[in-house]
Symmetry: C2
Subunit: 113 residues, 2 copies
DNA sequence: TTACCACTTGGAGTTAACTCTAAGTCAAAC
DNA sequence: GTTTGACTTAGAGTTAACTCCAAGTGGTAA
């Protein structure tokens, strides 16, 4: 798949896709004979995963670390699990904050009736 | 209340409190005779409100608009309600994304057992 | 064979939200 | 009466996460 196709498929700009690769957030993509990126199925799965995690606000830095660990193989499974568990904890905390704020907004909106 | 007290009370840095005032996110704070900020009870309520909204990720720009409308008096009530309703919608959307990601994280963490 | 278009790279620019610095003022303590 | 420490201001610097730009290349179409 070309960068244009991947960009369209996942709704990420070509610049963002190149940026993610440059910083190591996505494993490096192989090139066609003319030097253009050629995304594999697995590359696409990574991109979809990263997009989902970023949408929920997980920081790029943590995701880079996850990808890096992944590439080091099975001996990093414990570390990967720990990383995800920590991010999960932060996510739940954030959601709790948001829930409180949502209730407050609801109350405020109602009082504007 | 001095800026030091407000900073401690709400866990916002003095720089952040000054910044919020400068950009109009908090109504301007009156000064003591020596020129220092003297926060009233109402100022504190604003700061607590802003902090709560910011913790949930509401953008500063939207909050400035809300404060500005508030200061214009009762004729802006409809606009204020609309603004809050829009932000509420965005908040719910974000929470939905996060919920999906949380489920995915849970699944992934479980599969690492 | 020249024009076009999608791609490449390295690097600079942008945005949101702070955070820090420098130079100065004021009141209280020593 | 000078030093200390909390404050003031304007403005510069930082960080995360993109986004844009310029200069160049490779394949296709007129």
């Amino acid at each position: 798949m070309t960068i244009a196709e991947v960009s369209k498929k996942f709704g990420l700009s070509q610049d963002t896709l190149r940026y993610y690769e440059r910083i190591g957030l996505v494993p490096s993509i192989s090139r066609s004979k003319s030097g253009n990126r050629d995304y594999s199925e697995e590359d696409c799965r990574w991109i979809e995963f990263i997009k989902c995690m970023r949408n929920a606000g997980l920081p790029i830095e943590a995701l880079i670390e996850y990808v890096t660990l992944f590439q080091k193989g099975d001996e990093t499974i414990a570390a990967r699990k720990e990383l995800l568990t920590e991010q999960r904890k932060l996510l739940v905390e954030k959601m709790d904050e948001m829930k409180k704020t949502l209730e407050r907004l609801d109350y405020k909106i109602e009082s504007y009736e």
